[in-house]
Structure formats: structure tokens, C-alpha cells
């Protein structure tokens, strides 16, 4: 789903509602086909005692395919074509402002732990979007992370991903 959105260019007239609708329907169709193939692989039929394991996946995939074809055709040939812009580049940029840092944040969590990553993530947002002063940024982002640490690791004993800093502190 993601790469379709990144194909968005400024002033691209084709990225209307019905274009996105059609592309999404096409992707759903492919998902349906994949499910049917996997269902077929493990047996989509009827054994002596009832349905085989692939019986439901195969049929779920088939219904997905049929429904997506209907949505696809209706989008292309239907009477009410929605030619409005799906999302303008300006507005989509704002979505990317959240999405890209979030991807980096999840990546960082894997290496430096969720608490340190959260400090950087929240702080970065406050700096880039909110133009806060560094003092406020540090107070709020460190404060929130510390509060989460206290709540999860100490109060509820739920272990979250930790990195080198936490092991330095003995956790």
C-alpha cells in the first residue's frame, strides 16, 4: 500500500479518488490471488470428514477477488466518478512528516531501546513542528519517557525493548 502513495508527485492530476480506489482494488485483488494460491497448496477441497485447511483461505481469497473486481469496475465505469484530488501534495507532505519519522523511530527502537528512541522522537517533533525551546523539549521528552519507564518497567513489570543506556543503569 505504501509504495503507491510515494509515487505521488506534486501536481499529478492522475492521483484522484478514483485512481487511488482502482489501485487499492487491484492490490486487494492480488492479495486475494495469493490467498487462493496458498489455500490451494494446502488443500482447498473437502476431505471425508469436512473441509481441508485451505478451504476457508481459498474461498476468502476468491471473495476478495470478486469484490475487488466489482469495486475496480465500478470505479472505472461507474456513473459517479470522484475526480477530486485524493490528497494534495501539501497535505500529503504532512502525512510523511509523521510517517517517515515513525519508521525511523521503530528502526531506532530496535537498537537503542524504546525509551531513548522516544525521547529523540518526541523531542524531534517538538523542535521541527512546534518550534519549542530546547529546555522545554528536554524537560517534556525526557519526562514522558521517564514516566513511561516508571509505569511499565517498575509498576506493571512489563518489559519493553531496552538498549545500551538502560543496561548501563542496570536494567
Amino acid at each position: 500500500m505504501k509504495q503507491k502513495q510515494t509515487q505521488d508527485r506534486p501536481h499529478s492530476a492522475w492521483l484522484t479518488y478514483h485512481a487511488v480506489e482502482a489501485i487499492t482494488a487491484a492490490i486487494i485483488f492480488v492479495v486475494g490471488v495469493v490467498m487462493m494460491i496458498d489455500g490451494y497448496r494446502i488443500g482447498m477441497g473437502w476431505a471425508f470428514d469436512g473441509p481441508e485447511s485451505g478451504y476457508f483461505p481459498f474461498r476468502t481469497g476468491a471473495i476478495l477477488c470478486i469484490s475487488s473486481v466489482v469495486v475496480f469496475l465500478r470505479t472505472l465505469f461507474g456513473k459517479h466518478r470522484n475526480d477530486n484530488l485524493f490528497v494534495s501534495w501539501d497535505r500529503f507532505k504532512k502525512v510523511l512528516y509523521v510517517l517517515i519519522p515513525t519508521v525511523l523511530y521503530v528502526l531506532a527502537t530496535q537498537f537503542i531501546g524504546i525509551y531513548v528512541a522516544s525521547v529523540v522522537f518526541i523531542g524531534g517533533f517538538m523542535r521541527a513542528m512546534g518550534k519549542f525551546s530546547w529546555l522545554k523539549i528536554i524537560l517534556i521528552s525526557v519526562g514522558i519517557s521517564a514516566a513511561l519507564f516508571w509505569m511499565f518497567e517498575i509498576q506493571f513489570k512489563v518489559s519493553l525493548p531496552k538498549g545500551p543506556l538502560e543496561s548501563l543503569l542496570g536494567y
Binding site: V20, M35, D38, F48, F56, S68, G124, I144, L148
Partner: protein
């Protein structure tokens, strides 16, 4: 009057400082979750569910259900003060709520909406108290074929009442597909894992809820560039009393909306459609109907009462049959399984403390909830004045933590991220998300019921039409499944345009 003595027993169960504390925490968290963009009933409960893994089930359900009630109360706050519905079920509340706030009558509108919510909830809880045990008793006779038929009816009713049957169908099938990932519980074969060991465990429904509703919503609010500059929430004893004096004359609206909401909650119509129906019908039947939209108290009461009634009533089929009536109820049902309870009619026999404790807590928490929201609205409205540049990353962090703690794997956070993008896309394209979540939670159970039924009949499909009960449910389900086609055919025959389908969440 066995029910009443059970209910008193339930009150005895929850009257401990610990449970009352959990109730208060749940309600306050629920209100916070309800006013924040990107968080709502379903994902608020989903994120906090992992924290309750070690709690005793009764305290856990009391806290989590209170989050649900809190979020139902809170949807109105943003609708009235900011003209931004905090939850999809409070969209209809903006129609008359915001005009009232513009006229400087925000306090009245808020009091009316909270009180309406309370009345709706109370109606549904009374209904649950007396109806749920009967339904459960009746359902004890159900075997696998009957259960499959009820699941089928649930799924079919989404198609029958949804706006777009094909998109609803796609949402349902994607939910089933996600449920099928992992090990087949009957044969032990691996399905749709494509050799990935991460997928062995399947995609947990909590991840889907957090991603689709939480992250997806944040992306959407980012794109829409939310700006909260709302009206002041002035609310005091005088305003409350003044408003309460006016309410009795709207008793017809209150009762009607409660009934609509309760019905939409028991059938999986959802709070959103209930609130729209409540508003629409009040508008049609009120003698002030033509003034709706300009700031009438009735226009706030009608949708809020229906929404909260439907939210509460959604727990009736969840407790009695193991079939949730809303997305949030679906998450609560998932919680039951995690705490080691087997959802279904046997709950009423084997887990009396749990069931009646929950019902008793619903009475109490809606009263406490009403007091909390009435007294603390300005505080919660202030939360929305916190800049979005702080709130947005914090919500993302909370979603990530929630996703990770489901079963302590990084894979879940990545899955949540992907589902968040899908949620954003689906919301913009009007694919309904509630059927997806329900299909994901119930998919496995429906399939197991089907296969057990077939095993019992040695492979004959006729088992689903073997007696009056099961064939009745199946036929009703089939009727709902093909309802859009029947409706279309009927209006073609009569030469009129098919009416616009109802709105569902």
C-alpha cells in the same frame, strides 16, 4: 428474582477500594482517550489490555469497560466545544452541539449530552440485567451449527446494513484473512505464513486495532491539519441544574433514542449508525424538527443517548453469546480469552462473579462517569490545547508500546506500522473498519464452529438447516447478506431509486 440477587452479589464483588479505584482510573483514561485524536474506545482498550494480563479478570474488565464508557462520554466534548468529533459516533452531536456552544450555551449542551448518555447507558444496562441471562440460558442449547449460524448472521448483518456491500465484504474478508494467518487450530497445518517464522503466531487483533484505528487516525488528523481553537467550557452547578430542569420534557426523545441505541448495539449496527438514526428520527418527529441544526438541546440529546445506549448494549451479545456488538466490545472479548475465560453462554454459570460484577460495575461506573465528566470538563478540554506537536508523537509512542507489549516482539510494531498506513488509506476510501476487526476476532471461532458442526454431521452441509432454530438463523442471515441486492431489485421493480444505505462505522 434470581437476577436481582445475582446483581446484588455483583455489587458486593465490585465494592472494594481496589475495584473502585480501577473504575475511576478507567473512566479518566477513557475520557482522555476519547478527547484525543487518534485514540478512541477500541484502541484505548487495546493498548491498555496488555497491562491487565496479570490482573484478576473482574478488576481487569471493570477497568477496561470503564475506558469504553469514558470514551463514549467524551466524544461529545470535542464535538460541542471544537466542532471536531473525537469519536465517529459523536459526528451527529456536532450538528446542534457546536451551534449551541457558539451561542455561549456550551455548558447546557455538555450537560444535556452527558445526561443523555447516562440515560441511554442506564436503559441498556437494565436491559442487559434482565435480558442477558435469558439469552445465555437459551444459548446453552446451542451446538456448533447454531453458533456458526449466529456468527454468520453477525457478519451478514454488516453487509445488510452497511453503506457499500462490496467494501464491507472486502473489509470482512481481510479480517478473516488476517485471522487465518498462522497455525490452523483444527489440523495444525500452517496457513498463509509463507515460510516466515514471525507469522507463525498470526497477526494479533490488538495489533490490528492499534494500527488501523490509532496510527491510521493520527495520519489522517495530520493530513487534515487539526487546529483546536474551541469555545470555553463554562459549566457549574447552576447551569447543570437549569438544564436538568428542562430535560424531562424531552422524555420521548430520550426513550426513543435509548431504544434505537439498544437495538443497534445488540445487533452489530454500531454506535455511529445509532447516533445518526437517533438524530434523524428525532428530527423527523420533533415539532421543532425544522430548527434542528441551529442549536437545539434535543439535537444533542438524541444522538448522544443513542450512541451510549448502543455502546452499552453491545456488551449484551458479548457476554451472553460471545459475539461482540461493536469494535470495542470485540477488543474486550479478546481480553476475556487472554484472561483465560471462555466466552459464551457458559460464562453466566461458571463465572458468576465476573459477569455480575461487570453488570453491577456498569450501573455504578455510568453514575460515577457522569459526575466525573460534569465536574472536570474544563480540565479535559484543556488537554486539547496542548500543541499537536507534542500530542502526535506521544500517541505514536503509546501505540508502539501497546503493540510491542502484546507479546513482546518488534515484529508487532512493524505490523502495526503497516496496518496504520492501511487504516489511513481505508478510512479515506470509506472502507469500514469495524467489520474487519470483528472478522479478525471471530474468524477463527466461526471457522472452528463450522468445522465442528461438519465433523458432527460427517461432512453434510445440511446440518445448518437441520432444525427450526439453526435454519431460522441461517435464513435470516442469508436474507441480510443479500439484502442490498434485494433492496436494489425491489426498487427497480417499483421504478424508484434505491434509498441511500445507512451509515455504519
Amino acid at each position: 428474582m434470581e437476577d436481582l440477587s445475582n446483581l446484588f452479589h455483583g455489587f458486593a464483588v465490585i465494592f472494594s477500594w481496589y475495584n473502585l479505584g480501577m473504575m475511576a482510573i478507567g473512566l479518566i483514561l477513557g475520557v482522555i482517550v476519547g478527547v484525543l485524536p487518534g485514540l478512541g474506545g477500541p484502541n484505548g482498550v487495546a493498548i491498555l489490555l496488555p497491562l491487565t494480563f496479570t490482573m484478576n479478570p473482574t478488576s481487569a474488565i471493570v477497568m477496561l469497560s470503564c475506558i469504553y464508557w469514558g470514551s463514549l462520554f467524551a466524544g461529545a466534548i470535542t464535538s460541542i466545544l471544537f466542532n471536531i468529533p473525537g469519536e465517529s459516533h459523536s459526528v451527529a452531536t456536532t450538528f446542534d452541539g457546536y451551534p449551541l456552544a457558539q451561542q455561549g450555551r456550551a455548558g447546557e449542551a455538555l450537560t444535556a449530552s452527558f445526561t443523555g448518555s447516562f440515560v441511554g447507558a442506564f436503559f441498556s444496562v437494565v436491559l442487559i440485567t434482565f435480558l442477558a441471562p435469558l439469552v445465555a440460558k437459551f444459548a446453552l442449547k446451542f451446538g456448533p451449527p447454531e453458533f456458526f449460524a449466529v456468527y454468520f448472521l453477525t457478519f451478514a448483518s454488516f453487509i445488510g446494513t452497511g453503506r457499500d456491500p462490496f467494501k464491507t465484504m472486502i473489509a470482512l474478508m481481510i479480517g478473516f484473512g488476517l485471522a487465518q494467518i498462522g497455525m490452523d487450530s483444527v489440523s495444525g497445518q500452517l496457513r498463509l505464513t509463507f515460510g516466515s517464522s514471525e507469522l507463525l503466531r498470526g497477526i494479533d487483533f490488538l495489533i490490528a486495532v492499534i494500527g488501523l484505528f490509532g496510527l491510521g487516525e493520527i495520519l489522517l488528523s495530520m493530513e487534515e491539519g487539526l487546529k483546536f481553537d474551541g469555545k470555553e467550557a463554562k459549566i457549574n452547578v447552576k447551569v447543570v441544574w437549569h438544564t436538568w430542569k428542562k430535560l424531562p420534557k424531552y422524555w420521548v426523545t430520550l426513550l426513543r433514542s435509548s431504544a434505537i441505541g439498544a437495538w443497534m448495539g445488540i445487533t452489530p449496527g454500531g454506535a455511529t449508525s445509532a447516533s445518526f438514526m437517533g438524530y434523524g428520527i428525532a428530527k423527523r418527529f420533533s415539532k421543532n424538527g425544522h430548527k434542528f441544526g441551529t442549536g437545539k438541546l434535543e439535537g444533542v440529546l438524541a444522538p448522544e443517548t443513542a450512541a451510549h445506549a448502543s455502546g452499552c448494549a453491545a456488551l449484551l451479545p458479548m457476554m451472553a453469546l460471545g459475539i461482540p456488538g461493536s469494535a470495542t466490545a470485540a477488543v474486550l472479548l479478546g481480553g476475556l480469552m487472554i484472561w483465560g475465560l471462555q466466552p459464551g453462554p457458559l460464562l453466566f454459570i461458571e463465572q458468576k462473579d465476573f459477569v455480575w460484577g461487570l453488570i453491577a460495575s456498569m450501573y455504578l461506573s455510568n453514575i460515577v462517569g457522569l459526575l466525573i465528566v460534569l465536574t472536570t470538563v474544563p480540565l479535559f478540554a484543556a488537554i486539547l490545547r496542548i500543541p499537536f506537536s507534542i500530542i502526535a508523537p506521544v500517541i505514536v509512542v503509546v501505540c508502539a508500546i501497546g503493540a510491542y507489549s502484546v507479546n513482546n516482539t518488534m515484529f508487532n510494531i512493524w505490523a502495526m506500522l503497516v496496518l496504520g498506513v492501511i487504516g489511513y488509506l481505508f478510512k479515506k476510501l470509506d472502507y469500514p473498519l469495524a467489520p474487519l476487526v470483528l472478522a479478525l476476532v471471530l474468524g477463527d471461532r466461526a471457522e472452528v464452529a463450522f468445522r465442528q458442526a461438519i465433523l458432527g454431521s460427517q461432512g453434510a452441509m445440511s446440518i445448518f438447516f437441520s432444525n427450526m432454530l439453526v435454519s431460522g438463523i441461517m435464513i435470516f442471515g442469508l436474507l441480510l447478506l443479500f439484502w442490498p441486492a434485494i433492496d436494489l431489485g425491489w426498487s427497480k421493480v417499483r421504478g424508484t431509486r434505491p434509498h441511500e444505505g445507512r451509515k455504519t462505522d
